[in-house]
């Protein structure tokens, strides 16, 4: 069964009329992970935000987006807001900037959970504590009472994962979740994403330009270039026999990265996915 189905998604700039993403169609099956790969400016983030309907007002979009059979593009803003977070959870690139810098991290967590589920403060604390411990965050209470700048990027990334665990969405969209992290933290966070997938019944869209990471986590992948999808298929097939020239280029340069990653991590196996 498909969790999320995107058909004929088109994104364009309403001022210049420039088309940024022409006719993209793809789907994500329940419990599977789709990776979107491509260099910066290839339209990965635009696609993610289009699914959330969170692109800037100047960017217009058309096409159908079905979440569990419900067409998101037809929903009112109010109904859409109920889907965001609860059914469609996004994890953004830079954890350091994802939380209001003037409030402690807990404020955002409480606001979100209270809004969607109407839970009280104590309920939320208990649930968040459990989830944060499960993503290997030590001392969750102290973290909830810290300002974003007092925590590291990796910790904040895991706080976002923990929030996703509590929210129990149908689809998690992770937009370059590891880009802003150093290699070792990256490894730990990826570990948590893999755990998240196995633990929950959700589908995942994982945007990255790091092929080593994609190879570990994704079942299927899309390769985007200049807004268009140039290649799609099972991750394993693409890595062994890419059809498009651009993908072959990515794979060949990506593998050197991969070796580097291997060396640093002391040859940890990648065969989990």
């Amino acid at each position: 069964m498909n969790s999320l189905e995107v058909s004929n998604l088109k994104i364009w700039d309403s001022r210049t009329g420039k088309v940024l993403v022409p006719h993209s169609s793809f789907h994500v099956k329940q419990r599977s992970c789709l990776a979107i790969v491509g260099e910066s400016g290839s339209g990965k983030s635009l696609t993610c935000r289009a699914i959330m309907r969170l692109n800037k007002a100047l960017l217009h979009q058309s096409g159908e987006i079905l979440l569990q059979g419900v067409n998101l593009t037809k929903l009112s803003e109010k109904e859409m807001r109920k889907k965001r977070g609860k059914q469609l959870c996004m994890i953004v690139q830079n954890g350091m900037r994802a939380f209001d810098p003037s409030c402690v991290v807990g404020v955002h967590l409480k606001e979100t959970l209270a809004w969607h589920y109407g839970w009280g403060r104590d309920d939320i604390t208990v649930k968040m504590k459990r989830a944060m411990e499960s993503v290997m965050l030590k001392d969750p209470l102290a973290i909830m009472n810290s300002y974003p700048h007092q925590l590291s990027g990796g910790m904040l990334q895991r706080v976002m994962i923990a929030l996703a665990i509590v929210l129990e969405p149908d689809v998690v969209i992770a937009d370059e979740p590891t880009t802003a992290l150093d290699t070792i933290t990256q490894f730990e966070v990826i570990e948590q994403f893999i755990q998240l997938r196995t633990r929950m019944n959700c589908a995942m869209i994982f945007v990255s330009h790091d092929l080593a990471v994609v190879k570990r986590i994704a079942d299927e992948m899309l390769v985007m270039k200049d807004g268009a999808i140039v290649e799609r298929g099972a991750t394993r097939d693409i890595f062994s026999a890419a059809q498009h020239e651009y993908t072959r280029f990515l794979v060949s340069t990506g593998l050197t990265l991969d070796h580097h990653f291997n060396k640093i991590m002391g040859g940890v196996s990648h065969a989990e996915c």
Partner: protein
């Protein structure tokens, strides 16, 4: 306790500045091309100024002593609010300056409140409606207003409201109504600057990831706007903290126009009559107020923004 340490540090930094300011105000007098003793005699309307008379006046005022000794004496007496006597009227400077300072402070504070209210409201509205007609027209109006000489605008307003409609008092500060016109003029001429700052700070915050993540978590726009305001207010508070002393020193034209019994009126009168002790005290008091308000706004800002505290 980082906050306590920050406050002490910030206050310690401002102390040498205050001393520099006092020294500068002190030597202002010495830089004058005119001999102060001569100026005093002129100001008091002595017909025949002889060199003996000048020497006598100098000795009477202790002007024959070395510069540093005089500076220290002057500084100590300044701390006791004794700024000497006016050359013209012979009255103690503080008896003129004190009430004037208070009047200017009142005008400034009322104006700053009006400016804050206006620029935050309009800044927020315009940032949230970026590029729409509200944004464009408000920006256009403010652009024009900031290019206008405030006294010209003031004159037009006075002419219209007070003379044509005979509604509001045009001079003095007798009733609460006296505030309306001067505050309007000051607000109009300054709100443009602060409106721009609030708007651009709101806009840069709108592009922050926390807004995207908040929306992605399904938070309602009202909550998001509160977070935006919270973050933009930090910029706003530091900016408005600086605005108080800036406006305190820029009310000169408006005060003169509306005959407000404040520092601006006093200072221009003193400059025209070359009443140096008053000019000196005016510079000292305003510069000190400037430094003190800045220090204070830095501290308030650090209290609100934990990141700044860490940086210092």
């Amino acid at each position: 306790m980082a906050m306590g340490r920050y406050i002490i540090k910030r206050v310690l930094i401002s102390l040498p500045l205050l001393v520099t300011i006092s020294f500068f105000s002190f030597i202002l007098n010495q830089l004058s091309p005119l001999d102060p003793a001569e100026v005093i005699l002129h100001a008091q309307g002595v017909p025949n100024i002889t060199s003996e008379l000048i020497a006598e006046t100098k000795a009477r005022l202790g002007m024959d002593q070395p510069l540093l000794t005089r500076y220290v004496q002057w500084f100590v007496s300044c701390l006791q609010l004794d700024f000497g006597n006016s050359y013209v009227t012979g009255k103690p400077v503080w008896s003129l300056l004190g009430p004037a300072f208070l009047n200017t402070l009142k005008l400034t504070l009322v104006s700053v409140i009006a400016i804050i209210a206006l620029s935050i409201t309009l800044g927020t509205i315009c940032a949230l409606r970026e590029g729409k007609w509200v944004d464009k027209s408000v920006r256009g109006i403010f652009f024009l207003l900031t290019s206008m000489p405030s006294y010209w605008l003031a004159a037009l307003i006075v002419w219209y409201f007070s003379v044509k409609l005979d509604l509001l008092p045009t001079s003095g500060m007798d009733t609460y109504q006296s505030y309306i016109l001067p505050v309007t003029v000051i607000t109009i001429s300054f709100a443009g600057i602060y409106f721009r700052i609030i708007r651009s700070s709101m806009l840069s915050n709108l592009n922050e990831d926390y807004v995207l993540y908040g929306r992605a978590c399904g938070l309602p726009e009202s909550k998001i706007t509160l977070h935006l305001l919270r973050n933009s207010l930090q910029v706003a508070i530091s900016v408005f903290g600086m605005a108080i002393p800036v406006i305190l020193g820029s009310t000169v034209v408006v005060e003169n126009l509306f005959v407000w019994p404040g520092l601006g009126t006093l200072s221009v009168k003193s400059i025209l009559s070359r009443d140096f002790p008053i000019i000196q005290a005016y510079v000292l008091v305003l510069a000190a107020a400037f430094v003190i308000f800045n220090t204070f706004s830095d501290i308030v800002n650090a209290a609100l923004n934990p990141k700044l505290r860490k940086d210092h």
